[in-house]
Point group: C2
Protein backbone atom coordinates (compact mmCIF):
# COMPACT_ATOMS: atom_id res chain seq x y z
CA UNK A 1 0.00 0.00 0.00
CA UNK A 2 2.98 2.32 0.53
CA UNK A 3 3.27 4.69 -2.39
CA UNK A 4 6.63 4.98 -4.08
CA UNK A 5 7.67 8.48 -3.30
CA UNK A 6 11.33 8.59 -4.19
CA UNK A 7 11.90 11.86 -2.42
CA UNK A 8 10.69 10.39 0.86
CA UNK A 9 12.64 7.19 0.41
CA UNK A 10 15.72 9.38 0.07
CA UNK A 11 14.87 11.05 3.38
CA UNK A 12 14.54 7.83 5.33
CA UNK A 13 15.35 4.59 3.51
CA UNK A 14 13.70 2.49 6.26
CA UNK A 15 10.21 3.72 5.41
CA UNK A 16 10.02 1.57 2.28
CA UNK A 17 10.04 -1.52 4.55
CA UNK A 18 6.71 -0.57 6.17
CA UNK A 19 3.42 -1.77 4.68
CA UNK A 20 1.67 0.89 6.73
CA UNK A 21 3.00 4.02 8.40
CA UNK A 22 0.75 5.26 11.21
CA UNK A 23 1.19 9.02 11.68
CA UNK A 24 0.15 8.66 15.30
CA UNK A 25 0.03 12.29 16.49
CA UNK A 26 -1.80 13.74 13.50
CA UNK A 27 -4.01 10.68 13.04
CA UNK A 28 -3.45 9.43 9.48
CA UNK A 29 -2.30 6.15 7.98
CA UNK A 30 -0.33 5.74 4.76
CA UNK A 31 -2.30 2.55 4.05
CA UNK A 32 -5.81 3.30 5.33
CA UNK A 33 -6.18 6.91 4.19
CA UNK A 34 -6.05 7.98 0.57
CA UNK A 35 -3.48 10.66 1.23
CA UNK A 36 -2.91 11.65 -2.44
CA UNK A 37 -6.64 12.29 -2.84
CA UNK A 38 -6.96 14.11 0.49
CA UNK A 39 -3.76 16.18 0.38
CA UNK A 40 -2.20 15.85 -3.09
CA UNK A 41 -3.05 19.46 -4.00
CA UNK A 42 -1.35 21.01 -0.96
CA UNK A 43 1.18 23.73 -1.88
CA UNK A 44 1.53 25.56 1.44
CA UNK A 45 1.84 24.12 4.93
CA UNK A 46 1.16 26.83 7.51
CA UNK A 47 2.02 26.10 11.12
CA UNK A 48 1.43 27.97 14.36
CA UNK A 49 1.11 27.44 18.10
CA UNK A 50 -2.53 26.74 18.86
CA UNK A 51 -5.28 24.78 17.11
CA UNK A 52 -7.73 27.65 17.61
CA UNK A 53 -5.49 30.15 15.85
CA UNK A 54 -4.81 27.74 12.99
CA UNK A 55 -8.55 27.13 12.63
CA UNK A 56 -9.15 30.89 12.38
CA UNK A 57 -6.30 31.32 9.87
CA UNK A 58 -7.63 28.45 7.73
CA UNK A 59 -11.18 29.84 7.82
CA UNK A 60 -9.87 33.23 6.69
CA UNK A 61 -7.82 31.62 3.90
CA UNK A 62 -10.90 29.69 2.77
CA UNK A 63 -13.11 32.78 2.81
CA UNK A 64 -10.66 35.17 1.18
CA UNK A 65 -9.38 32.78 -1.49
CA UNK A 66 -12.79 31.17 -2.05
CA UNK A 67 -11.50 27.64 -1.57
CA UNK A 68 -12.96 24.61 0.21
CA UNK A 69 -12.39 24.27 3.97
CA UNK A 70 -12.04 20.94 5.78
CA UNK A 71 -11.35 20.14 9.43
CA UNK A 72 -9.04 17.11 9.46
CA UNK A 73 -8.30 17.29 13.18
CA UNK A 74 -8.20 13.87 14.85
CA UNK A 75 -7.41 13.57 18.50
CA UNK A 76 -6.56 16.72 20.39
CA UNK A 77 -2.81 17.12 20.28
CA UNK A 78 -2.66 19.05 17.02
CA UNK A 79 -5.35 20.86 14.98
CA UNK A 80 -5.31 20.23 11.21
CA UNK A 81 -7.36 22.24 8.74
CA UNK A 82 -7.25 22.46 4.96
CA UNK A 83 -8.22 25.51 2.95
CA UNK A 84 -7.79 24.51 -0.71
CA UNK A 85 -4.04 24.20 -1.30
CA UNK A 86 -3.19 25.44 2.21
CA UNK A 87 -2.77 22.99 5.08
CA UNK A 88 -2.92 24.71 8.49
CA UNK A 89 -1.52 22.75 11.43
CA UNK A 90 -0.86 23.66 15.05
CA UNK A 91 2.52 22.67 16.49
CA UNK A 92 2.18 23.54 20.18
CA UNK A 93 4.99 25.28 22.05
CA UNK A 94 8.68 24.50 21.71
CA UNK A 95 11.00 22.57 19.40
CA UNK A 96 10.13 19.06 20.65
CA UNK A 97 6.39 19.59 20.10
CA UNK A 98 6.94 21.17 16.66
CA UNK A 99 9.42 18.42 15.72
CA UNK A 100 6.71 15.75 16.00
CA UNK A 101 4.39 17.63 13.66
CA UNK A 102 7.19 18.36 11.21
CA UNK A 103 8.26 14.70 10.97
CA UNK A 104 4.69 13.53 10.47
CA UNK A 105 3.69 16.32 8.05
CA UNK A 106 6.86 15.92 5.97
CA UNK A 107 5.93 12.24 5.63
CA UNK A 108 2.30 13.19 4.91
CA UNK A 109 3.08 15.56 2.04
CA UNK A 110 5.47 13.00 0.61
CA UNK A 111 2.95 10.14 0.82
CA UNK A 112 0.39 12.49 -0.73
CA UNK A 113 2.75 13.21 -3.61
CA UNK A 114 2.65 17.00 -3.06
CA UNK A 115 5.00 18.93 -5.33
CA UNK A 116 6.98 22.09 -4.48
CA UNK A 117 5.45 22.53 -1.05
CA UNK A 118 6.48 25.53 1.03
CA UNK A 119 6.34 25.43 4.86
CA UNK A 120 5.56 28.62 6.78
CA UNK A 121 5.51 29.08 10.56
CA UNK A 122 3.21 31.95 11.59
CA UNK A 123 3.63 32.77 15.25
CA UNK A 124 3.97 35.21 18.09
CA UNK A 125 7.28 36.19 19.67
CA UNK A 126 9.17 38.69 21.77
CA UNK A 127 10.83 41.55 19.89
CA UNK A 128 14.34 42.95 20.17
CA UNK A 129 14.56 46.66 19.51
CA UNK A 130 11.22 46.92 17.71
CA UNK A 131 7.80 47.98 18.90
CA UNK A 132 5.09 45.48 19.78
CA UNK A 133 3.06 44.48 16.73
CA UNK A 134 6.01 44.38 14.30
CA UNK A 135 6.07 41.39 11.94
CA UNK A 136 9.52 39.78 11.64
CA UNK A 137 10.45 37.50 8.72
CA UNK A 138 13.37 35.31 9.80
CA UNK A 139 16.72 35.12 8.00
CA UNK A 140 18.42 32.55 10.24
CA UNK A 141 17.26 30.89 13.44
CA UNK A 142 19.98 31.13 16.09
CA UNK A 143 20.36 28.95 19.17
CA UNK A 144 21.15 30.30 22.67
CA UNK A 145 24.86 30.38 21.77
CA UNK A 146 23.88 32.52 18.75
CA UNK A 147 24.83 29.79 16.28
CA UNK A 148 22.60 29.10 13.23
CA UNK A 149 22.07 25.50 14.32
CA UNK A 150 19.38 23.04 15.32
CA UNK A 151 21.08 20.59 17.66
CA UNK A 152 19.65 17.26 18.68
CA UNK A 153 20.93 14.19 20.51
CA UNK A 154 20.50 11.07 18.37
CA UNK A 155 21.66 7.73 19.81
CA UNK A 156 23.51 9.71 22.47
CA UNK A 157 25.46 11.83 19.94
CA UNK A 158 24.87 15.47 19.11
CA UNK A 159 23.86 16.12 15.51
CA UNK A 160 23.61 19.60 14.01
CA UNK A 161 21.44 20.89 11.18
CA UNK A 162 21.79 24.35 9.62
CA UNK A 163 18.96 26.85 10.21
CA UNK A 164 19.40 29.35 7.38
CA UNK A 165 15.98 29.93 5.81
CA UNK A 166 15.25 30.55 2.12
CA UNK A 167 16.23 34.13 1.26
CA UNK A 168 14.17 33.92 -1.92
CA UNK A 169 11.01 32.93 -0.07
CA UNK A 170 11.56 35.59 2.61
CA UNK A 171 11.96 38.26 -0.08
CA UNK A 172 8.91 36.98 -1.90
CA UNK A 173 6.85 37.22 1.30
CA UNK A 174 8.10 40.71 2.14
CA UNK A 175 7.39 41.92 -1.41
CA UNK A 176 3.71 40.89 -1.06
CA UNK A 177 3.19 43.25 1.86
CA UNK A 178 -0.57 43.61 2.20
CA UNK A 179 -1.70 47.00 0.91
CA UNK A 180 -4.05 47.50 3.87
CA UNK A 181 -1.32 47.07 6.44
CA UNK A 182 -0.65 49.53 9.21
CA UNK A 183 2.30 47.75 10.77
CA UNK A 184 6.01 47.25 10.04
CA UNK A 185 7.35 44.11 8.38
CA UNK A 186 11.07 43.64 8.86
CA UNK A 187 13.68 40.94 8.32
CA UNK A 188 16.09 39.75 10.97
CA UNK A 189 17.59 36.77 12.72
CA UNK A 190 15.47 34.94 15.27
CA UNK A 191 16.71 33.61 18.60
CA UNK A 192 15.09 30.21 19.19
CA UNK A 193 15.20 29.06 22.82
CA UNK A 194 14.20 25.94 24.75
CA UNK A 195 12.71 27.92 27.61
CA UNK A 196 10.52 31.01 27.87
CA UNK A 197 11.72 32.41 31.20
CA UNK A 198 15.38 31.75 32.07
CA UNK A 199 16.16 30.67 28.49
CA UNK A 200 15.04 34.12 27.24
CA UNK A 201 16.80 36.02 30.04
CA UNK A 202 13.54 37.01 31.75
CA UNK A 203 13.63 38.23 35.34
CA UNK A 204 10.05 37.12 36.07
CA UNK A 205 10.17 33.33 36.05
CA UNK A 206 9.80 31.19 39.15
CA UNK A 207 13.61 31.15 39.24
CA UNK A 208 16.20 33.75 38.36
CA UNK A 209 19.81 33.67 39.53
CA UNK A 210 21.03 36.67 37.48
CA UNK A 211 20.57 40.43 37.65
CA UNK A 212 19.02 43.06 35.37
CA UNK A 213 22.46 44.03 34.03
CA UNK A 214 23.33 40.40 33.14
CA UNK A 215 20.04 40.14 31.29
CA UNK A 216 20.66 43.37 29.35
CA UNK A 217 24.23 42.37 28.52
CA UNK A 218 22.95 39.09 27.01
CA UNK A 219 20.06 40.72 25.13
CA UNK A 220 22.42 43.29 23.65
CA UNK A 221 24.70 40.49 22.46
CA UNK A 222 21.60 38.93 20.95
CA UNK A 223 20.69 42.22 19.25
CA UNK A 224 24.23 42.62 17.93
CA UNK A 225 23.92 39.18 16.28
CA UNK A 226 21.18 40.67 14.11
CA UNK A 227 18.35 39.20 16.15
CA UNK A 228 15.03 41.05 15.96
CA UNK A 229 12.83 38.51 17.70
CA UNK A 230 12.83 35.56 20.11
CA UNK A 231 10.61 32.49 19.99
CA UNK A 232 10.76 28.74 20.54
CA UNK A 233 10.20 26.84 17.26
CA UNK A 234 12.00 28.51 14.33
CA UNK A 235 15.18 26.39 14.60
CA UNK A 236 13.40 23.06 14.24
CA UNK A 237 11.24 24.36 11.36
CA UNK A 238 14.39 25.57 9.60
CA UNK A 239 16.54 22.54 10.53
CA UNK A 240 14.06 19.87 9.46
CA UNK A 241 12.83 21.68 6.34
CA UNK A 242 16.46 22.13 5.26
CA UNK A 243 17.07 18.42 5.84
CA UNK A 244 14.01 17.64 3.70
CA UNK A 245 14.98 20.22 1.04
CA UNK A 246 11.69 22.03 1.63
CA UNK A 247 11.64 25.83 1.34
CA UNK A 248 10.54 27.35 4.62
CA UNK A 249 9.77 30.70 6.20
CA UNK A 250 9.12 31.95 9.73
CA UNK A 251 6.82 34.97 10.05
CA UNK A 252 6.09 36.11 13.61
CA UNK A 253 4.54 39.13 15.26
CA UNK A 254 6.20 40.65 18.33
CA UNK A 255 4.07 41.03 21.49
CA UNK A 256 6.56 43.21 23.42
CA UNK A 257 10.06 44.66 23.17
CA UNK A 258 12.34 42.58 25.37
CA UNK A 259 14.82 45.45 25.70
CA UNK A 260 12.04 47.25 27.63
CA UNK A 261 10.06 44.60 29.51
CA UNK A 262 9.59 40.90 30.31
CA UNK A 263 5.83 40.82 30.90
CA UNK A 264 3.20 40.50 28.16
CA UNK A 265 0.34 42.74 29.25
CA UNK A 266 -1.62 43.24 26.03
CA UNK A 267 -5.40 43.46 26.17
CA UNK A 268 -7.39 40.68 24.53
CA UNK A 269 -8.20 42.97 21.59
CA UNK A 270 -4.58 44.03 21.05
CA UNK A 271 -3.47 40.42 21.17
CA UNK A 272 -6.15 39.36 18.65
CA UNK A 273 -5.22 42.24 16.40
CA UNK A 274 -1.49 41.40 16.52
CA UNK A 275 -2.09 37.68 16.05
CA UNK A 276 -3.85 38.39 12.73
CA UNK A 277 -0.85 40.17 11.24
CA UNK A 278 1.26 37.15 10.21
CA UNK A 279 -1.88 35.76 8.54
CA UNK A 280 -2.46 39.03 6.76
CA UNK A 281 1.07 38.90 5.37
CA UNK A 282 0.81 35.25 4.33
CA UNK A 283 -2.64 35.74 2.81
CA UNK A 284 -1.16 38.43 0.56
CA UNK A 285 1.72 36.10 -0.37
CA UNK A 286 -0.48 33.08 -1.07
CA UNK A 287 -2.97 35.19 -3.04
CA UNK A 288 -0.20 36.37 -5.33
CA UNK A 289 1.22 32.87 -5.73
CA UNK A 290 -2.22 31.51 -6.63
CA UNK A 291 -2.83 34.41 -8.99
CA UNK A 292 -5.84 35.56 -6.99
CA UNK A 293 -6.65 39.13 -6.12
CA UNK A 294 -6.71 39.83 -2.44
CA UNK A 295 -10.08 41.10 -1.32
CA UNK A 296 -9.38 42.17 2.27
CA UNK B 1 -0.70 43.99 45.89
CA UNK B 2 1.96 41.27 45.72
CA UNK B 3 1.56 38.89 48.62
CA UNK B 4 4.59 38.26 50.78
CA UNK B 5 5.37 34.66 50.16
CA UNK B 6 8.85 34.19 51.53
CA UNK B 7 9.32 30.85 49.84
CA UNK B 8 8.71 32.42 46.43
CA UNK B 9 10.91 35.42 47.14
CA UNK B 10 13.66 32.92 47.89
CA UNK B 11 13.07 31.31 44.51
CA UNK B 12 13.35 34.55 42.54
CA UNK B 13 14.22 37.71 44.48
CA UNK B 14 13.20 39.93 41.53
CA UNK B 15 9.52 39.07 41.89
CA UNK B 16 9.14 41.24 44.96
CA UNK B 17 9.76 44.28 42.74
CA UNK B 18 6.60 43.68 40.69
CA UNK B 19 3.26 45.19 41.73
CA UNK B 20 1.56 42.72 39.43
CA UNK B 21 2.77 39.46 37.93
CA UNK B 22 0.82 38.43 34.83
CA UNK B 23 0.93 34.66 34.42
CA UNK B 24 0.44 35.09 30.68
CA UNK B 25 0.12 31.51 29.45
CA UNK B 26 -2.25 30.26 32.15
CA UNK B 27 -4.17 33.52 32.33
CA UNK B 28 -3.98 34.75 35.94
CA UNK B 29 -2.72 37.90 37.61
CA UNK B 30 -1.18 38.13 41.06
CA UNK B 31 -2.89 41.50 41.54
CA UNK B 32 -6.24 41.11 39.78
CA UNK B 33 -7.14 37.57 40.83
CA UNK B 34 -7.61 36.52 44.43
CA UNK B 35 -5.25 33.59 44.10
CA UNK B 36 -5.28 32.56 47.80
CA UNK B 37 -9.09 32.30 47.68
CA UNK B 38 -9.14 30.50 44.34
CA UNK B 39 -6.22 28.13 44.86
CA UNK B 40 -5.12 28.32 48.52
CA UNK B 41 -6.47 24.81 49.28
CA UNK B 42 -4.54 23.08 46.49
CA UNK B 43 -2.44 20.12 47.72
CA UNK B 44 -1.83 18.24 44.47
CA UNK B 45 -0.90 19.63 41.06
CA UNK B 46 -1.49 16.99 38.40
CA UNK B 47 -0.07 17.61 34.95
CA UNK B 48 -0.39 15.77 31.64
CA UNK B 49 -0.15 16.29 27.89
CA UNK B 50 -3.57 17.36 26.65
CA UNK B 51 -6.31 19.60 28.01
CA UNK B 52 -8.96 17.00 27.18
CA UNK B 53 -7.23 14.30 29.21
CA UNK B 54 -6.71 16.66 32.15
CA UNK B 55 -10.39 17.64 32.00
CA UNK B 56 -11.39 13.95 32.15
CA UNK B 57 -8.98 13.27 35.00
CA UNK B 58 -10.28 16.27 36.96
CA UNK B 59 -13.90 15.24 36.38
CA UNK B 60 -13.13 11.74 37.67
CA UNK B 61 -11.32 13.17 40.72
CA UNK B 62 -14.31 15.41 41.44
CA UNK B 63 -16.80 12.56 41.06
CA UNK B 64 -14.86 9.94 43.01
CA UNK B 65 -13.72 12.22 45.83
CA UNK B 66 -17.00 14.17 45.93
CA UNK B 67 -15.28 17.55 45.65
CA UNK B 68 -16.17 20.68 43.72
CA UNK B 69 -15.08 20.93 40.07
CA UNK B 70 -14.13 24.19 38.36
CA UNK B 71 -12.87 24.89 34.84
CA UNK B 72 -10.29 27.67 35.14
CA UNK B 73 -9.06 27.41 31.55
CA UNK B 74 -8.36 30.78 29.95
CA UNK B 75 -7.06 30.96 26.42
CA UNK B 76 -6.29 27.74 24.66
CA UNK B 77 -2.66 26.94 25.27
CA UNK B 78 -3.15 25.04 28.51
CA UNK B 79 -6.26 23.53 30.14
CA UNK B 80 -6.68 24.19 33.89
CA UNK B 81 -9.24 22.41 36.04
CA UNK B 82 -9.68 22.20 39.80
CA UNK B 83 -11.22 19.28 41.65
CA UNK B 84 -11.19 20.25 45.33
CA UNK B 85 -7.55 20.19 46.43
CA UNK B 86 -6.36 18.85 43.07
CA UNK B 87 -5.30 21.23 40.29
CA UNK B 88 -5.15 19.50 36.88
CA UNK B 89 -3.18 21.29 34.18
CA UNK B 90 -2.11 20.29 30.68
CA UNK B 91 1.51 20.92 29.72
CA UNK B 92 1.59 20.05 26.01
CA UNK B 93 4.44 18.02 24.53
CA UNK B 94 8.12 18.43 25.38
CA UNK B 95 10.27 20.13 28.00
CA UNK B 96 9.94 23.71 26.66
CA UNK B 97 6.14 23.57 26.71
CA UNK B 98 6.05 21.96 30.17
CA UNK B 99 8.64 24.45 31.45
CA UNK B 100 6.29 27.38 30.82
CA UNK B 101 3.48 25.76 32.81
CA UNK B 102 5.83 24.77 35.62
CA UNK B 103 7.22 28.30 36.04
CA UNK B 104 3.75 29.83 36.05
CA UNK B 105 2.16 27.18 38.29
CA UNK B 106 5.03 27.26 40.77
CA UNK B 107 4.45 31.02 41.01
CA UNK B 108 0.67 30.47 41.22
CA UNK B 109 0.82 28.04 44.17
CA UNK B 110 3.24 30.36 45.92
CA UNK B 111 1.08 33.46 45.40
CA UNK B 112 -1.90 31.39 46.57
CA UNK B 113 -0.05 30.44 49.74
CA UNK B 114 -0.46 26.68 49.17
CA UNK B 115 1.34 24.53 51.71
CA UNK B 116 3.08 21.18 51.11
CA UNK B 117 2.00 20.88 47.51
CA UNK B 118 2.99 17.78 45.56
CA UNK B 119 3.39 17.87 41.74
CA UNK B 120 2.57 14.76 39.70
CA UNK B 121 2.97 14.29 35.97
CA UNK B 122 0.56 11.65 34.61
CA UNK B 123 1.40 10.76 31.04
CA UNK B 124 1.89 8.29 28.24
CA UNK B 125 5.25 6.95 27.12
CA UNK B 126 7.15 4.26 25.30
CA UNK B 127 8.25 1.26 27.36
CA UNK B 128 11.60 -0.48 27.54
CA UNK B 129 11.34 -4.19 28.20
CA UNK B 130 7.77 -4.08 29.54
CA UNK B 131 4.46 -4.81 27.88
CA UNK B 132 2.15 -2.05 26.64
CA UNK B 133 -0.15 -0.85 29.41
CA UNK B 134 2.44 -1.01 32.21
CA UNK B 135 2.47 1.97 34.59
CA UNK B 136 5.99 3.22 35.37
CA UNK B 137 6.75 5.41 38.40
CA UNK B 138 10.00 7.28 37.74
CA UNK B 139 13.07 7.16 39.98
CA UNK B 140 15.31 9.51 38.02
CA UNK B 141 14.77 11.27 34.71
CA UNK B 142 17.80 10.72 32.46
CA UNK B 143 18.82 12.83 29.46
CA UNK B 144 19.93 11.39 26.10
CA UNK B 145 23.46 10.92 27.50
CA UNK B 146 21.85 8.92 30.34
CA UNK B 147 22.74 11.55 32.94
CA UNK B 148 20.19 12.49 35.66
CA UNK B 149 20.19 16.12 34.52
CA UNK B 150 17.93 18.84 33.19
CA UNK B 151 20.16 21.08 31.12
CA UNK B 152 19.25 24.54 29.93
CA UNK B 153 21.07 27.44 28.33
CA UNK B 154 20.68 30.60 30.41
CA UNK B 155 22.36 33.80 29.16
CA UNK B 156 24.34 31.61 26.77
CA UNK B 157 25.70 29.34 29.52
CA UNK B 158 24.62 25.76 30.23
CA UNK B 159 23.08 25.26 33.67
CA UNK B 160 22.26 21.84 35.09
CA UNK B 161 19.61 20.79 37.60
CA UNK B 162 19.38 17.32 39.15
CA UNK B 163 16.43 15.13 38.16
CA UNK B 164 16.21 12.61 41.00
CA UNK B 165 12.58 12.39 42.09
CA UNK B 166 11.28 11.88 45.65
CA UNK B 167 11.76 8.23 46.60
CA UNK B 168 9.32 8.66 49.48
CA UNK B 169 6.56 9.96 47.20
CA UNK B 170 7.20 7.23 44.61
CA UNK B 171 6.95 4.56 47.31
CA UNK B 172 3.84 6.17 48.71
CA UNK B 173 2.21 6.12 45.27
CA UNK B 174 3.21 2.52 44.57
CA UNK B 175 1.89 1.40 47.99
CA UNK B 176 -1.57 2.80 47.15
CA UNK B 177 -1.91 0.50 44.16
CA UNK B 178 -5.61 0.49 43.33
CA UNK B 179 -7.23 -2.77 44.43
CA UNK B 180 -9.19 -3.07 41.18
CA UNK B 181 -6.11 -2.91 38.98
CA UNK B 182 -5.34 -5.44 36.30
CA UNK B 183 -2.04 -3.97 35.18
CA UNK B 184 1.56 -3.85 36.41
CA UNK B 185 2.97 -0.85 38.26
CA UNK B 186 6.75 -0.76 38.30
CA UNK B 187 9.52 1.67 39.21
CA UNK B 188 12.38 2.59 36.93
CA UNK B 189 14.39 5.37 35.43
CA UNK B 190 12.86 7.41 32.62
CA UNK B 191 14.67 8.58 29.51
CA UNK B 192 13.51 12.12 28.72
CA UNK B 193 14.24 13.23 25.15
CA UNK B 194 13.83 16.43 23.12
CA UNK B 195 12.56 14.58 20.07
CA UNK B 196 10.11 11.74 19.49
CA UNK B 197 11.61 10.18 16.35
CA UNK B 198 15.40 10.45 16.00
CA UNK B 199 15.80 11.47 19.65
CA UNK B 200 14.17 8.18 20.72
CA UNK B 201 16.09 6.08 18.16
CA UNK B 202 13.01 5.42 16.02
CA UNK B 203 13.47 4.16 12.46
CA UNK B 204 10.15 5.62 11.24
CA UNK B 205 10.64 9.39 11.33
CA UNK B 206 10.93 11.54 8.22
CA UNK B 207 14.70 11.21 8.66
CA UNK B 208 16.87 8.35 9.86
CA UNK B 209 20.59 8.04 9.20
CA UNK B 210 21.21 4.94 11.37
CA UNK B 211 20.39 1.24 11.12
CA UNK B 212 18.27 -1.18 13.16
CA UNK B 213 21.39 -2.50 14.94
CA UNK B 214 22.49 1.04 15.97
CA UNK B 215 19.02 1.65 17.36
CA UNK B 216 19.04 -1.62 19.33
CA UNK B 217 22.54 -0.98 20.65
CA UNK B 218 21.42 2.42 22.00
CA UNK B 219 18.13 1.11 23.44
CA UNK B 220 20.00 -1.70 25.22
CA UNK B 221 22.38 0.87 26.72
CA UNK B 222 19.26 2.76 27.81
CA UNK B 223 17.78 -0.41 29.35
CA UNK B 224 21.07 -1.17 31.13
CA UNK B 225 20.88 2.29 32.75
CA UNK B 226 17.72 1.13 34.52
CA UNK B 227 15.37 2.86 32.11
CA UNK B 228 11.89 1.36 31.83
CA UNK B 229 10.22 4.11 29.83
CA UNK B 230 10.86 7.02 27.45
CA UNK B 231 8.96 10.29 27.29
CA UNK B 232 9.58 14.00 26.80
CA UNK B 233 8.76 15.99 29.97
CA UNK B 234 9.96 14.18 33.11
CA UNK B 235 13.35 15.94 33.30
CA UNK B 236 11.88 19.44 33.44
CA UNK B 237 9.22 18.39 35.97
CA UNK B 238 11.97 16.89 38.15
CA UNK B 239 14.51 19.65 37.55
CA UNK B 240 12.21 22.59 38.28
CA UNK B 241 10.38 20.93 41.20
CA UNK B 242 13.76 20.11 42.75
CA UNK B 243 14.81 23.73 42.30
CA UNK B 244 11.59 24.85 44.02
CA UNK B 245 11.92 22.19 46.74
CA UNK B 246 8.57 20.72 45.71
CA UNK B 247 8.09 16.95 45.96
CA UNK B 248 7.30 15.53 42.54
CA UNK B 249 6.42 12.25 40.85
CA UNK B 250 6.14 11.07 37.25
CA UNK B 251 3.62 8.29 36.60
CA UNK B 252 3.26 7.20 32.97
CA UNK B 253 1.64 4.33 31.09
CA UNK B 254 3.55 2.64 28.27
CA UNK B 255 1.86 2.46 24.86
CA UNK B 256 4.35 0.03 23.27
CA UNK B 257 7.62 -1.78 23.99
CA UNK B 258 10.37 0.05 22.13
CA UNK B 259 12.56 -3.06 22.13
CA UNK B 260 9.91 -4.59 19.82
CA UNK B 261 8.50 -1.77 17.69
CA UNK B 262 8.51 1.95 16.88
CA UNK B 263 4.90 2.42 15.77
CA UNK B 264 1.98 3.02 18.14
CA UNK B 265 -0.92 1.07 16.64
CA UNK B 266 -3.36 0.81 19.57
CA UNK B 267 -7.08 0.96 18.90
CA UNK B 268 -8.97 3.94 20.26
CA UNK B 269 -10.42 1.75 23.05
CA UNK B 270 -7.03 0.35 24.08
CA UNK B 271 -5.57 3.85 24.14
CA UNK B 272 -8.45 5.18 26.28
CA UNK B 273 -8.12 2.23 28.62
CA UNK B 274 -4.34 2.68 29.01
CA UNK B 275 -4.63 6.45 29.43
CA UNK B 276 -6.88 5.95 32.46
CA UNK B 277 -4.31 3.89 34.34
CA UNK B 278 -2.07 6.69 35.67
CA UNK B 279 -5.24 8.40 36.91
CA UNK B 280 -6.41 5.21 38.57
CA UNK B 281 -3.08 5.00 40.43
CA UNK B 282 -3.12 8.68 41.44
CA UNK B 283 -6.77 8.55 42.48
CA UNK B 284 -5.91 5.73 44.90
CA UNK B 285 -2.96 7.76 46.22
CA UNK B 286 -4.92 11.00 46.62
CA UNK B 287 -7.85 9.16 48.23
CA UNK B 288 -5.55 7.72 50.85
CA UNK B 289 -3.87 11.06 51.49
CA UNK B 290 -7.23 12.76 51.92
CA UNK B 291 -8.45 9.95 54.16
CA UNK B 292 -11.27 9.12 51.77
CA UNK B 293 -12.31 5.63 50.76
CA UNK B 294 -11.91 4.93 47.09
CA UNK B 295 -15.20 4.01 45.50
CA UNK B 296 -14.15 2.88 42.03
Amino acid sequence: MMNNNNHLVNLNPHLKKYDEDTLFHIGFSSAQDNLPEMFGDVKFVCMGGTAGRMRKYSEAFSRELEVEWTDYTKGERYGIFKAGPILCISHGIGKPSASIVLHEVIKLVNYAGCQDVVFIRMGTCGGINCEAGTVVVTNKALDEMLKPEYNLHVLGKLITRPTQLSQELAEDIISCKPSSNNFSIIRGNTLCTSDFFEGQARLDGAFCHYEEEDKMEYLKKVRDAGVRNIEMESAVVAGLCNAAQIKAAVVCVTLLDRLKTDQITLTHDQLSNYEKRPMDVILAYVSKKLGKGRKL
